[in-house]
């Protein structure tokens, strides 16, 4: 943004403003845009989810307010704003009041490092990925505050579950990202996206492939396994079915939101949907190249960039539009998958959730890190790093060997772990039955 602002103010108008003013203007514009976009995403996603899940259940969904129900979220918003705000007498007033803000704020922060299109990132941090996930865990504090301050047993149980689930599933999420970070060698989200140019194979691995913006990580065995693990963990973190245990309405009313009403409840809802959007966005960025897609790279090469100040601004617009289009397409695609999963699966029990996270996903992601190491070794290292035998191979050959080795390793690990996990689950069921038998004396 700043380069564009700089271009417009200093070059086109020739006002010669200082760089801090340019930066301030740039950040203000971006912040304003983002604070407009975040709630809008939430509004859109609620409608999107309701329409999609309705179709899966052979219904039509909300389609009365506006064309195809487009204004339904606004109607919901008006309703939620006009609701009475009830605070339980026994609640800890201040904590109860602050908790929704603590939950919403991190989701807004996370937008700071989210690239929307080529050159369209609010802040290109070299620690972007770390920032993103570190901040996302802060909302667990807010959830705990909400549950505790409500002085309601359901709220507390819900908050406990939420925190337990978030903490457990951060681990596979971060471990699966670690594999990707090893491959790219950078924690910058922008760098992560730049790495995914190419066609099926990344141009960074094999320089000779054409750059169609399709060298996504999903096409490598390491990336694929990391994607599966990460997406499952993202479902758990976003409290989506089948991991919506913290707000399991059939068991604990609404979990930590039980004692909230009106716009405070609305804020939790907002945080949840914005978080879901962000998780879908980050999934599409890390594994599906974000704004990468056919044409974007070529357009952006001719736009005004720090590297190419002689570019034409029209290409900024074109590249931006196309990039954002690809990005949102992928993001909403993932949100559809989330809804699809919600439509298909039943809620897990808390012990099943823990079992799955700790006994299946974490070992799997650990194996994936090992695969990632092999991948990096085979594609990047040379004699200096102690891998002299790869020196003679062509880049394509090295890539192919790395692909085959990691594929075998990951597939084997998956099948092996799946079998062990299934056996352990069977054993557990058997034990449960035995206990039941002892308790009831009924075979």
């Amino acid at each position: 943004m700043q380069d564009v602002v700089n271009q417009v103010i200093n070059t086109s108008f020739g006002w010669g403003w200082p760089s801090w003013a340019i930066a301030l203007i740039g950040y203000l514009i971006v912040a304003a845009i983002l604070f407009g976009i975040a709630p809008f995403q939430m509004l859109f996603l609620t409608l999107y989810e309701r329409r999609a899940i309705a179709r899966m259940q052979d219904r039509i969904g909300p389609n009365r307010v506006g064309p195809e129900g487009a204004f339904q979220p606004l109607a919901d918003g008006v309703k939620i704003f006009t609701k009475e705000d009830i605070v339980p007498a026994a609640a800890d007033q201040w904590v109860h009041f602050i908790a929704p803000c603590v939950v919403v704020a991190p989701t807004m922060f996370m937008f700071a490092v989210l690239p929307w299109g080529p050159g369209m990132v609010p802040v290109d941090m070299n620690l972007g990925l770390l920032f993103f996930f570190a901040i996302s865990s802060v909302s667990a504090v807010g959830l705990m505050m909400a549950g505790w301050a409500s002085s309601n047993k359901f709220a507390l149980v819900g908050a406990m579950r939420a925190v337990a689930q978030m903490v457990s599933y951060e681990i596979p999420a971060v471990l699966s990202l670690l594999a990707i970070v090893m491959v790219t060698g950078s924690l910058s989200i922008v760098e992560l996206i730049n790495y995914q140019g190419g066609l099926f194979i990344s141009t960074r691995d094999v320089a000779s492939v054409p750059d169609w913006g399709l060298g996504w990580f999903i096409f490598s065995p390491v990336g694929f396994l990391a994607f599966i693990a990460f997406f499952i963990a993202a479902l758990a973190e976003g409290e989506r079915t089948p991991f919506d245990i913290p707000e399991a309405d059939s068991e604990i009313v609404a979990g930590y939101m039980t004692e909230y009403s009106g716009m405070k409840f609305g804020l939790f809802y907002l945080a949840q949907y914005v978080l879901n959007f962000l998780l879908c966005a980050i999934t599409s960025i890390i594994f599906f190249g974000g704004w990468q897609g056919p044409g974007v790279g070529w357009l952006y090469a001719q736009a005004i960039t720090p590297a190419n100040l002689q570019g034409d601004w029209i290409f900024n617009v074109l590249a931006g539009v196309l990039g954002v289009f690809y990005f949102l397409l992928k993001t909403y695609g993932f949100f559809f998958v989330m809804v699809w999963i919600r439509g298909a699966y039943a809620r897990l029990r808390i012990d099943q959730l823990m079992d799955f996270g700790w006994k299946f996903l974490i070992p799997l992601t650990l194996v994936n890190i090992f695969s990632a190491a092999i991948w990096v070794g085979l594609t990047k290292w040379g004699a200096a790093d102690g891998l002299a035998f790869v020196e003679g191979w062509s880049p394509l050959m090295r890539w192919a060997v790395a692909f085959a080795v990691t594929l075998i390793l990951n597939l084997g690990a998956y099948l092996f772990l799946a079998r062990i996990f299934a056996q352990s689950q069977d054993e557990r069921t058997r034990q449960d039955d035995e206990v039941l038998e002892q308790l009831t004396n009924v075979a």
Binding site: R55, D58, R59, Y345, A418
Partner: protein, 371 residues
């Protein structure tokens, strides 16, 4: 896969069981949901299909109601004459379980006698439970169950329906339930004619039909001028003497009705009897029985109806004979040259009528057998 059974067929789902590899079950679950999603863009117009949307978008679209659907009772009036079918017989008021029907019987303003019509008829829709008993019990097919179900109001009082709000033309009812009305029509219209004859002035005319009422008033006034006074009574058929029926009379009536039914299938016409002399009781009765028997024999298995005779049933028997004759006439196929004397004074005439009726009935039956 479907399994054919004697009544219809059972659809057995192929659940694709068998050995599942790790994660395969989850993918199959996703496939099922996907199929529903993809299929939901088509409409499922026939419920045997598993996929497809079958939502009826209610305020825009409505399901066609089955004819026998019942929501709230309404009262019918005849389109042509404008007369209400209700006679104020109180049957519906008596049977209504929550007792939400309230009727005021019409009275002749001159004589003060009951008139077969209701001046006011109230149904409290708010407490009506749509049981349909009232429609079932009404002997005049006057009260019928409506199909309108959008009745919400802001207050309770506006759900207390008065007669003007309840009145619907018969054409409305034939629109919503043509078959049901076709079943009831003949009887109902016949009874209505009977009621109309006994309704003085404008009693019984639907209050909404102001032109009809005006026309009737003019007609009455004209008739009154011609007759030179007594406009109220003009054009009104003499009321039936309200006498209770003895068992014998009933039996005779029944026999006559049976005869009529078997001869032609047409419902027994309910006509006001005319004045009779008590002398020819026996003979008339006998004649009626004979007529009934003859008709029965012509149609189905013969059944004797031994009835004790008493001199009091003259009227009933006579009536029966006339009815039998009429029924035979209505059977229609054979032009029966029956002349029913309107006021027969002796046994012979009655007997003659009965025999004629019997013959006519026989002929009709034969005719229909031959066909």
């Amino acid at each position: 896969m479907t399994i054919e059974m004697q009544r219809g067929s059972v659809i057995v789902m192929d659940r694709r069981r068998g050995k599942l590899r790790a994660g395969q079950g989850l993918l199959q679950g996703l496939k099922v949901v996907w199929d529903h999603w993809a299929g939901s863009f088509r409409t499922n117009d026939n419920f045997s299909k598993i996929h497809g949307t079958f939502t009826v978008e209610y305020p825009d679209e409505r399901l066609p109601m089955p004819q026998a659907y019942r929501n709230m009772p309404v009262l019918l009036f005849d389109d042509e004459s404008g007369h209400e079918l209700c006679t104020g017989c109180y049957q519906c008021q008596r049977i209504c379980p929550p007792q939400v029907i309230h009727i005021t019987q019409a009275k002749d303003p001159v004589t003060g006698k009951m008139v077969p019509a209701a001046t006011e008829f109230i149904i409290e829709y708010d407490a009506c439970m749509s049981c349909g008993f009232c429609a079932e019990v009404c002997p005049f097919d006057s009260i019928k169950m409506d199909h309108v179900y959008e009745l919400s109001t802001a207050d309770r009082v506006s759900l207390t329906m008065r007669k003007t709000q309840l009145n619907r033309p018969i054409s409305y009812y034939t629109g919503i339930a043509p078959d049901l009305w076709a079943e009831a029509q003949a009887g109902a219209m016949k009874k209505l004619q009977g009621s109309i004859k006994r309704r003085p002035d404008v009693i019984g005319l639907a209050a909404s039909l102001t032109e009809k009422i005006k026309a009737r008033r003019l007609e009455l006034a004209a008739a009154g001028q011609v007759a030179g006074g007594g406009g109220q009574e003009a054009g009104v058929a003499p009321a039936a003497p309200a006498a209770k029926l003895t068992p014998e009379e009933k039996a005779a009536k029944l026999a006559a009705m049976k005869a009529a039914k078997q001869a032609g299938g047409a419902p027994a016409p309910a006509e006001a009897p005319v004045e009779l002399s008590p002398a020819d009781a026996k003979a008339a009765k006998l004649a009626a029985i004979k007529a009934a028997n003859a008709a029965k024999q012509a149609g189905a298995a013969p059944a004797e109806a031994p009835v004790e005779l008493s001199p009091a049933d003259a009227k009933a028997a006579k009536l029966a004979a006339i009815k039998a004759a009429n029924a035979a006439k209505q059977a229609g196929a054979v032009p029966a040259p029956v002349e029913v004397p309107s006021t027969p004074l002796d046994a012979k005439a009655a007997r003659l009528a009965a025999i004629k009726a019997a013959n006519a009935a026989k002929q009709a039956a034969e005719q229909s057998n031959n066909e």
